[in-house]
C-alpha cells in the first residue's frame, strides 16, 4: 500500500474483492468537499469559454431546427422525403429514438431507487435531466409530422361545436396520453429531487439575484426534519408512480406499430423489445454525456469508474435482450409460415435496406459484447466510443422498423424506396441542437449531482451506525490518511 498522499486515495473503485465493499465516492471527500465540487460548477465566477463555444453551436443548431419547422409548416409535409408507401419517415424515427433516450433517467431514479441501488445517487440527477430534454425533443416530432399542424388540438378531447371526440381506438391517441404523463411525472420527479440542493445553492448565494432565483426555485426549503421526512415520503411515492411509467411509455409507443397490420410491425414482441431497447439507448446516452462532463468539471471522485462500469454492465444486458428480440423476430417470421412476414424480414436483412439493418446489428448486438471484458468496460475511451455507436445503432433500429417494413408490404405494385431530404436531416440534427442547448444550460445553472443524496451514501453519514452495529447498508470503509481502515 503506497504512502504518498494522492495515491492514498485510489480513484479506482472497480475492484471485485467481495470482502471489501467498494466506496461510492472516492478520494478525500467529506460533505463539504462534495458541496464545493458540485456547487462550484454553478457558482463559477466566469463561464468557461469551452462552454460558450458548445453553447453557441447548440443554439445555432436549435435555430436550424426551428427554421426547418417553419419551412415545413408553411410549405407542407412534402418537404420531407415521405411518400406512399413510406408515409412515416425520419420524424417518427426521431420521435421513437428520443423517447427511448428519455428512459434511463426515470429508470435510474425510480426503479434503481426502489431496488436500493445506492450507486444511482451520483448519476440520477444527471440522467433525469437528460430524460426531460430527450422527451422535449421527442415531443416535437409527432406534433410537426402531421399534415395540418394547426388542427393538432383535435387530438385532445376538448368539447367543441362539432360534437366530435378523438378516436380512442387509435394508438396515436394513446401516445398523446402516455408521453404526456411520462413527461409530467419525470419533470416533477426531477424538480422535486433538486429542491434540497437548490436550497443549498440559495444559502451559498453571494448575489441578491442568485439568492432570489434559487430561493424561489427551492420553494422555501429549510431542511427541517419535517421537510426531510415529507420529502423522502413524496420521493418514494413518486418513484412508485414513475416506475410503471418507465415500462408503459415505450410499450404504448410500440403499439403504434404493433397494433397495425403491416408485416414487420404487427408483432406482439414489440413492447418488451422496445422497453429493453429504450433502456439500452438511455444508458448509452447517459454514458455519452457523463464521461466528458465528469472530466470537464472534475467529478471523477463522485461519478466514479465504478458507476461507468455498472452502466456498461446494464448496456451489455439490455443489448443482449435487444439481440434476442432481433433473432426472435426472424424465428417467428419463419415459424408463423406467413409468406408476407417471412419476406419482410428477409428483405430487411438482404433487401434494398440491408445496409441499415447491418449497421443496426453491428452497433446494438456486436459492440456491447466488448463489455464482457473488464479491461474494455473500465476503459473510459472505449466505453465512450461504444456508447456513441450504440446510440447510432438504436436510431437505425427505429429506421429499420419504420421504413423497411413500409417500403415493401403486401402488393408489389405499391413497393417503393424512401430517401430523406435535406430538410429531414437538418431537422434531426437540429433536434440534437435543442437537446444539447437544454443540457448545457442544465449543467451550468443547476446542480448536476444530487448532493444531498450522495452525501446520504457517504460513509460519514453512517459513522454512528458503524459505531453502534454494522447494519445492513454500510457504504464502504473510510480510508484514513494512512490508508488504513478504521474499525
Amino acid at each position: 500500500m503506497s504512502t504518498s498522499a494522492p495515491a492514498a486515495y485510489p480513484l479506482d473503485n472497480t475492484f471485485d474483492d467481495p470482502t471489501r465493499r467498494a466506496p461510492l465516492v472516492v478520494g478525500d471527500n467529506d460533505f463539504h468537499s462534495i458541496t464545493e465540487k458540485v456547487c462550484g460548477i454553478v457558482e463559477m465566477p466566469r463561464t468557461p469559454p469551452a462552454w460558450w463555444i458548445a453553447f453557441f453551436i447548440s443554439v445555432s443548431l436549435t435555430g436550424v431546427l426551428f427554421a426547418m419547422i417553419g419551412y415545413l409548416i408553411t410549405t407542407g409535409v412534402g418537404v420531407w422525403g415521405l411518400q406512399v408507401p413510406v408515409a412515416w419517415g425520419w420524424a417518427i424515427v426521431n420521435f421513437v429514438f428520443w423517447v427511448g433516450i428519455g428512459h434511463a433517467g426515470t429508470l435510474i431514479s425510480a426503479i434503481l431507487f426502489l431496488l436500493r441501488q445506492k450507486w444511482r445517487t451520483s448519476i440520477n440527477r444527471f440522467a433525469e435531466g437528460m430524460t426531460i430534454f430527450a422527451v422535449v425533443c421527442a415531443g416535437i416530432f409527432p406534433g410537426i409530422h402531421i399534415g395540418r399542424v394547426w388542427v393538432a388540438y383535435w387530438l385532445f378531447p376538448i368539447p367543441n361545436q362539432m360534437a366530435m371526440w378523438p378516436q380512442f381506438r387509435s394508438p396515436l391517441l394513446w401516445d398523446v396520453f402516455a408521453v404526456g404523463t411520462y413527461a409530467t411525472v419525470s419533470l416533477l420527479f426531477w424538480y422535486m429531487g433538486m429542491i434540497p440542493d437548490l436550497a443549498t445553492i440559495r444559502d451559498r448565494a453571494k448575489s441578491k439575484l442568485r439568492w432570489f432565483i434559487y430561493g424561489v426555485l427551492s420553494l422555501g426549503w429549510r431542511s427541517s426534519n419535517r421537510h426531510w421526512h415529507r420529502f423522502e415520503m413524496a420521493y418514494l411515492l413518486l418513484a412508485a408512480l414513475a416506475t410503471p411509467l418507465v415500462l408503459s411509455v415505450h410499450s404504448v409507443v410500440s403499439f403504434d406499430f404493433a397494433v397495425s397490420i403491416i408485416p414487420g410491425w404487427h408483432t406482439t414482441i414489440f413492447p418488451p423489445y422496445f422497453v429493453a431497447g429504450a433502456i439500452f439507448s438511455g444508458f448509452a446516452m447517459v454514458v455519452t454525456l457523463v464521461i466528458p462532463t465528469r472530466k470537464f468539471f472534475h467529478l471523477e471522485e463522485i461519478i466514479t469508474a465504478r458507476h461507468l462500469e455498472n452502466m456498461a454492465k446494464i448496456m451489455l444486458a439490455t443489448g443482449m435482450m435487444v439481440g434476442l428480440a432481433y433473432s426472435t423476430e426472424f424465428f417467428i417470421a419463419w415459424y408463423s409460415g406467413n409468406a408476407y412476414e417471412a419476406f419482410t424480414f428477409l428483405n430487411r436483412a438482404f433487401g434494398p435496406y440491408a445496409w441499415a439493418y447491418w449497421i443496426m446489428v453491428t452497433c446494438n448486438v456486436l459492440v456491447p459484447q466488448l463489455f464482457w471484458s473488464k479491461r474494455l468496460r473500465t476503459n473510459i475511451a472505449v466505453l465512450w466510443v461504444a456508447s456513441i455507436l450504440i446510440n447510432v445503432g438504436m436510431w437505425f433500429e427505429r429506421f429499420v422498423i419504420v421504413v423497411t417494413s413500409l417500403s415493401r408490404d403486401f402488393l408489389p405494385s405499391s413497393w417503393g424506396y424512401y430517401r430523406p431530404t435535406l430538410v429531414d436531416i437538418l431537422t434531426f440534427v437540429g433536434s440534437f441542437g435543442l437537446f444539447m442547448t437544454l443540457f448545457l444550460l442544465f449543467v451550468r445553472f443547476l446542480p448536476i449531482v444530487g448532493m444531498a443524496e450522495v452525501k446520504g451514501v457517504m460513509p460519514q453519514a453512517h459513522l454512528r451506525d458503524v459505531a453502534v452495529q454494522g447494519h445492513g447498508d454500510y457504504h464502504g470503509d473510510i480510508l484514513t490518511e494512512r490508508g488504513e481502515v478504521k474499525a
Partner: protein
C-alpha cells in the same frame, strides 16, 4: 408565357363588373349564333354563373367571409341553379367521331362521358377523349389572332383575317392550298366541294401523322378500291392480331373492347381465343391467349407462314384472284414454330368465325394478304364487314403531304392555310416541312395553341375547342353524329368549319348555320325541326351507318401486291448490331395533340407505367446485350437524325426490337408539354413511317430517374422472386378447362386459418354498396383512371411528384408481368402481362379506420369507408396501415398554382382537398348521395344500376359493376356469388367490399388440371379467400 398573368379573372360580380371581359360580354349579349334551340350557356350567363358558383362554393378560407349570391337576371328555361345537365355532342379524331355525353354545371362543362347511343362509344370513352375536356380550360390556349411579319407580331381581328382570305383566295385559286386534318364531317365535305368548285386550281391536302391508310391501301390492293373494314369481335371465336391493337389503337376501340369482353364468357361455347404476334406489348397483346413477340419486320413472314400452312396443310382454297400471292407467301421458310402451326389449325377449324387483323404499322401488302385470308376463311360478312369510304379519291396522308412538300419546293404554293394539325411538328422528317413552310409567302394556321406550326406561319388563328363549336361527323361504321357547343368560345376561337366557310365566302353562316344546312340537305325539309332537335338531343342519327358491301377480290391489283409482299416476307430480322425501331402512337398524348394536357401526361402508360416521358422500350436480354440499364439515356439515330430517350426494360418485347412513342419532345405545346420526352418524329420518314430499320443506339452516359408509378427502382432478385410468387394470388387465373373441371379452383389458391375479428361484427341492414371488377374483361386501358380524376377533382402532382411516388390517382391499374419462375429479371424473354385495377376496396373491417386518431375515416351504414377530408389532420397512419396502399396524401397544396380558368373544371359536388389531407376512392359518394336523395324524394327504392361510379360508367369493357349487395337480384351481388369472385388479401380479415373476378385463359390444349395444380384437400379448419370475404 404566363397567360394567367395577362388575363384577369373574377371571383364575384362586382369585381367582374369592372373587368373588360364583362364589358365585352354585354356587347355580345346576343351572339351571332342561334342559341334558340339550346339550353343557353352564352358567355354572358357563363360569366355570371361562374361568379355565382365560385361564391357559392365558398372557396375562401376566412372564418366568416362576406359571401355574395348572384342569381340570374333571367334564368334560362328549365335551369335550376346547381343542378347538373348532360348534353350529347361528338368529338372527331382521325377521321372518325366518338359520341360524347358532357355534364355541365351552371354552364361549365365538367366531364366527358360516352354517349350510349353512339355505336363507337356505347356509353364509354377512352382516356384521351375524356381528358380532352381539360384542354378547354387550358390557360395556355391561344387567345388572339396574331399576324407575324418577320419577328414582329400584330394582334388582328377575324375581320382582318376575312379580308386576308378574300385577297389570298381569289380567281381560280392558283397557288393557294389548304392543308386540313382528315374529317368525316359531311359539312366539311360540302364546304370542301364548294372550295374545289370555287377555286378549281387550288390544292386541297389532308394529312395526319396517325392514320389507318395502310389498311385502306391494302384493301385497295385486294379489292381494287379503298374500303373500310369494320371488325365484329362479338361474332369471332378465333381472332389473330398481327401487330394490331384493336382493343385500344382503333377508332372503334371502345366498341371492340366491349364486344371482345362479351366474347370471353366462361363457357366453351362463348369463350373466344386471341392470338397475337407483335413486336411490343400492346393492350390487345396483354389479353392474348397465345402471344408471340416478333420484330415488326418479321410479322409479314409470320402471317405468310400461317397462310402457307393454311393452304398447304389445311387445304384452304384461295379465290382465283389470289393465286399471285401464293408465290409470295409460299416462299416463307417453314419453321417449327408451334405458334404458326397451332394458329393455322385453329383458324382452319373456325372458318366463318375466325378473323385476322393486321395493324396500321404494317405495309399495305400485308393487309392485302390478310384480306385474302379473311376472304378465304369466310370472315367477310360474318366477323368482318366492309363499307365504302366517303373519300375514295384521296391519296394516303403521307403521300399527300409529300406531294404538297414537292409543290412547295417548286414554289407552286403561295398561300397555305393550315386547318388544324401541326405539320411542322409531325410531318415526315425527310420532307423538311418546317423550312418549306417558312418559304411560303402567305400562310395561316388554325390551332388551339400558338404551336410549332403557328410560329412559322404568317397568321395564327385561335381555334375553338370541340366543346365550343358546332360540327358533325361519322362513326367508324358511318353513323352520323352531331357536335354541339356547351359553352361560347372562351377565347374567341373559331372552328375549322367556320374558317373554311370564310374562305369560300360563307363566313356569316356561323357553325350552327353550316351544320344545320348540311343536315337540312340530308334530312329533307319535311318535319326538319323535329328531326334536327331529336338529332341534337340524341347526338346521333340512328340508321345512318354506311351500307355493308360484299366486294370481289381484284386479281390485277393483288398481282401488284405480290411482289412487295415477297420482299417483306424475305426481310432480314433485326440483330444486336442492327436493331429496328418501331414507332407507335402514344397511348396518352396520341400524335402529340394532348401533350399540354396534364391529365394525359400524368397518366401512367398502360405497359411501361411511365408518366411525363416517352421511353425506349427494350427487351431484357437485348438490354443486357447492348449493356443498357433501366433509365439509361441513349441516343437512337438513323439516317443522320437522332433522338435521346431513356431506356425502359419491358419483358415481352421482341428481341432486338426497340419501341418508342410519338408525340413527345414538343417545343411549343405549352407550359405543361414543352420539352417533355424526346421527339421520335425526327426519325420518321415518308417511305417507312412506322418502322425505322437498322438504327444505331449509343449510350450518353447519363441516366434519368423516370417518373413511373410502379417498379420505382431497379428490382433486386429477391424482390423480383417475391413479386412472382404473389402475382398468382393477387391476380388469380386459370384455364377455362381447369375452371370448368374445378369451379372452386380460385378459392383454393390461398389458405389461411379461420378469421376472427377483435371487434364485434356489425350489422349491415339496408343498402350495402359493393363492387365487382372482372379481370377477365379489364384491358388495362386507363379509361377509369381519367374518369375518376375528372369526377373527383384529383390533382396533378407533376413529374417531380411522381418521381417522389406521390401520384394522386385514386385508381391504380396494377400491371404485372408473369414470367417463368427461376428466370432472372434480365433473362426474361417470354412474359404475360396482367392488369388489376386497384382502388380503395372499402374493407368492412378496415385497418385504416381503427388507427385514425381523429376519426376522420369512418364506416358508414351502407358499408362505405367514408373519408371526411375536413376532419383529417394528416397523420398518414391510415395510409401506412392500408394493405393496398390506395390512400393518397396531399403533400403540398397541389391546387395553389392552378389558374382560375382551370378551376372551372372542378366538380362542385366534391370537396377540393387542400394540403395535409388524406384522400381516396369513396365509390363516388356524391353520385350515391344524388341518387339516394332523388329516390327518397320520390319515395321509391334505389333501382339496381341507377348508381354508377365514374370508373364503371366509362369502362369500355364493362369490367366494373357496382350495386347493392343486400339485394340478391342486383348485378353486383350476383357477380359476388360467381365462382370466379375472390377478395384480394382476404386472409387479413379485412372483408373488402370490392371483389375481383378471376382471369380465364383459353389456350390450345390446356389440361383440365395443370400439374402442380393444387388439389381440393386441406385442413378442416382451413379457410379460404371466398368464405372470408
Amino acid at each position: 408565357m404566363k397567360p394567367e398573368r395577362e388575363m384577369k379573372y373574377w371571383r364575384s360580380l362586382d369585381e367582374l363588373a369592372r373587368t373588360p371581359e364583362f364589358v365585352e360580354a354585354v356587347a355580345r349579349e346576343f351572339p351571332t349564333d342561334e342559341w334558340d334551340r339550346l339550353p343557353p350557356a352564352t358567355r354572358r350567363q357563363f360569366l355570371k354563373v361562374m361568379g355565382a358558383s365560385l361564391a357559392l362554393a365558398g372557396l375562401t378560407s376566412c372564418r366568416w367571409p362576406e359571401e355574395e349570391i348572384v342569381p340570374f337576371a333571367r334564368r334560362p328555361e328549365g335551369r335550376t341553379p346547381g343542378v347538373p345537365e348532360q348534353y350529347a355532342t361528338a368529338m372527331e379524331l382521325g377521321g372518325s367521331t366518338l359520341g360524347l355525353l358532357v355534364t355541365s354545371v351552371d354552364g361549365r362543362p365538367i366531364k366527358n362521358e360516352g354517349n350510349p347511343l353512339h355505336p363507337d362509344s356505347l356509353g364509354a370513352l377512352p382516356a384521351t377523349a375524356q381528358a380532352d375536356l381539360l384542354q378547354l380550360y387550358d390557360p395556355d390556349r391561344s387567345r388572339r389572332l396574331v399576324e407575324r411579319r418577320g419577328d414582329q407580331e400584330f394582334v388582328r381581328s377575324w375581320d382582318d383575317f376575312a379580308a386576308w382570305t378574300a385577297e389570298r383566295f381569289a380567281g381560280d385559286g392558283r397557288g393557294a392550298a389548304i392543308l386540313a386534318e382528315p374529317s368525316s364531317s359531311p359539312t366539311m365535305a360540302r364546304l370542301r366541294r364548294r372550295f374545289t368548285e370555287t377555286f378549281p386550281a387550288a390544292r386541297w391536302v389532308e394529312y395526319q401523322p396517325i392514320s389507318r391508310d395502310a389498311e385502306r391501301d391494302g384493301l385497295a390492293f385486294a379489292y381494287g378500291r379503298p374500303l373500310r373494314a369494320v371488325p365484329h369481335l362479338d361474332r369471332a371465336r378465333v381472332v389473330a392480331c398481327f401487330d394490331a391493337d384493336p382493343l385500344f389503337e382503333h377508332p372503334a376501340s371502345t366498341r371492340l373492347a366491349r364486344h371482345f369482353a362479351e366474347s370471353r364468357q366462361p363457357s366453351r361455347e362463348r369463350m373466344s381465343r386471341l392470338w397475337v404476334a407483335e413486336p411490343a406489348f400492346s393492350i390487345t397483346g396483354g389479353r392474348a391467349d397465345h402471344r408471340a413477340a416478333v420484330p415488326a419486320s418479321a410479322v409479314p413472314a409470320v402471317l405468310a407462314r400461317v397462310a402457307r400452312e393454311l393452304v398447304a396443310v389445311h387445304g384452304l382454297a384461295l379465290p382465283e384472284a389470289a393465286v399471285n400471292l401464293e408465290a409470295a407467301f409460299g416462299a416463307a421458310a417453314a419453321d417449327g414454330n408451334g405458334f404458326v402451326t397451332e394458329l393455322a389449325a385453329d383458324l382452319a377449324a373456325h372458318r366463318g368465325t375466325s378473323l385476322i387483323l393486321v395493324g396500321p404499322g404494317q405495309a399495305p401488302e400485308v393487309h392485302a394478304l390478310a384480306a385474302v385470308l379473311n376472304h378465304g376463311l369466310g370472315a367477310v360478312g360474318s366477323t368482318l364487314g366492309y363499307t365504302e369510304v366517303t373519300d375514295p379519291d384521296r391519296p394516303s396522308h403521307v403521300r399527300a403531304i409529300a406531294e404538297l412538300a414537292a409543290a412547295m419546293t417548286a414554289g407552286e404554293v403561295e398561300t397555305l392555310l393550315v386547318l388544324g394539325g401541326n405539320p411542322v411538328y409531325d410531318a415526315p422528317a425527310d420532307l423538311g416541312f418546317a423550312e418549306l413552310l417558312v418559304g411560303v409567302p402567305h400562310s395561316a394556321h388554325l390551332s388551339l395553341y400558338d404551336d410549332e406550326t403557328s410560329r412559322r406561319c404568317g397568321w395564327h388563328l385561335p381555334r375553338a375547342h370541340g366543346l365550343e363549336s358546332w360540327g358533325d361527323g361519322r362513326a367508324w361504321d358511318g353513323t352520323l353524329s352531331f357536335q354541339q357547343p356547351l359553352i361560347q368560345p372562351l377565347y374567341d376561337g373559331r372552328s375549322a368549319l367556320e374558317v373554311l366557310a370564310t374562305v369560300v365566302g360563307d363566313g356569316d353562316a356561323g357553325g350552327h348555320g353550316l351544320v344545320r344546312e348540311t343536315a337540312l340537305e340530308s334530312f329533307g325539309a319535311v318535319d326538319f325541326d323535329n328531326a334536327w332537335k331529336r338529332a341534337l338531343h340524341d347526338g346521333v342519327v340512328a340508321g345512318t351507318e354506311l351500307p355493308v358491301v360484299e366486294p370481289e377480290l381484284d386479281g390485277s391489283a393483288l398481282a401488284r401486291a405480290g411482289a412487295g409482299l415477297g420482299a417483306l416476307v424475305a426481310a432480314e430480322p433485326p440483330s444486336a448490331v442492327k436493331p429496328e425501331l418501331v414507332l407507335i402512337p402514344d397511348r396518352k398524348v396520341h400524335d402529340g395533340r394532348w401533350a399540354n394536357n396534364a391529365w394525359q401526361q400524368e397518366l401512367p402508360d398502360a405497359v411501361t407505367k411511365v408518366t411525363w416521358d416517352n421511353v425506349l422500350q427494350v427487351a431484357p436480354p437485348t438490354a443486357r446485350e447492348l449493356g443498357f440499364a433501366e433509365g439509361d439515356v441513349v441516343t437512337v439515330s438513323a439516317r443522320g437524325a437522332s433522338v435521346e430517350l431513356p431506356v425502359s426494360i419491358v419483358p415481352g418485347q421482341a428481341a432486338h426490337t426497340l419501341t418508342a412513342a410519338l408525340g413527345y419532345g414538343r417545343t411549343a405545346a405549352g407550359s405543361v408539354g414543352n420539352g417533355v420526352g424526346g421527339d421520335a418524329y425526327r426519325l420518321r420518314t415518308s417511305d417507312s413511317p412506322w418502322l425505322v430499320p437498322e438504327v444505331a443506339v449509343t449510350a450518353t452516359g447519363r441516366s434519368l430517374a423516370m417518373a413511373t408509378t410502379q417498379d420505382h427502382f431497379a428490382i433486386d432478385a429477391m424482390g423480383f422472386g417475391a413479386r412472382l410468387d404473389r402475382i398468382p394470388i393477387l391476380i388469380r387465373e386459370a384455364s377455362l378447362e381447369h375452371f370448368l373441371a374445378d369451379p372452386e379452383v380460385f378459392h383454393h389458391m390461398v389458405h389461411h386459418p379461420p378469421l376472427k375479428s377483435l371487434w364485434q361484427d356489425r350489422e349491415y341492414p339496408g343498402e350495402q354498396w359493393g363492387m365487382a371488377v372482372d379481370l377477365n374483361a379489364c384491358t388495362g386501358c386507363n379509361a377509369c383512371v381519367v374518369a375518376c380524376q375528372a369526377e373527383n377533382n384529383v390533382p396533378v402532382v407533376g413529374r417531380e411528384g411522381v418521381v417522389r411516388q406521390r401520384e394522386m390517382h385514386w385508381i391504380r391499374v396494377d400491371r404485372y408481368f408473369k414470367t417463368e419462375p427461376g428466370v432472372g429479371p434480365m433473362e426474361v424473354d417470354q412474359a404475360e402481362m396482367v392488369f388489376q385495377p386497384m382502388t380503395c376496396v372499402q374493407c368492412e373491417n378496415a385497418p385504416c379506420e381503427q388507427v385514425c386518431p381523429v376519426a376522420a375515416t369512418q364506416h358508414t351504414e351502407d358499408g362505405i369507408n367514408a373519408m371526411a377530408y375536413n376532419r383529417c389532420v394528416g397523420t398518414r397512419y391510415c395510409s401506412n396501415n392500408c394493405p393496398f396502399k390506395v390512400r393518397r396524401f396531399n403533400f403540398f397544396n397541389y391546387h395553389k398554382n392552378l389558374s382560375e380558368v382551370a378551376k372551372l373544371q372542378f366538380n362542385p359536388e366534391v370537396t377540393v382537398r387542400s394540403r395535409g389531407v388524406m384522400e381516396k376512392c369513396t365509390y363516388c359518394i356524391q353520385r350515391i348521395q344524388k341518387v339516394r336523395i332523388e329516390a327518397r324524394n320520390g319515395n321509391r327504392p334505389i333501382r339496381d344500376g341507377e348508381i354508377v361510379p365514374a370508373c364503371a360508367q366509362t369502362c369500355p369493357a364493362r369490367a366494373i359493376t357496382f350495386g347493392d349487395l343486400n339485394d340478391p337480384t342486383s348485378e353486383a351481388s350476383k357477380l359476388r356469388e360467381d365462382k370466379r369472385a375472390y377478395a384480394t388479401l382476404a386472409e387479413l380479415n379485412i372483408r373488402p367490399r370490392t371483389q375481383y373476378l378471376a382471369r380465364l385463359s383459353n389456350r390450345v390444349g390446356e389440361p383440365a388440371v395443370p400439374e402442380g395444380g393444387h388439389g381440393a384437400h386441406h385442413g378442416g379448419d382451413d379457410d379460404h379467400g371466398k368464405e372470408a370475404s
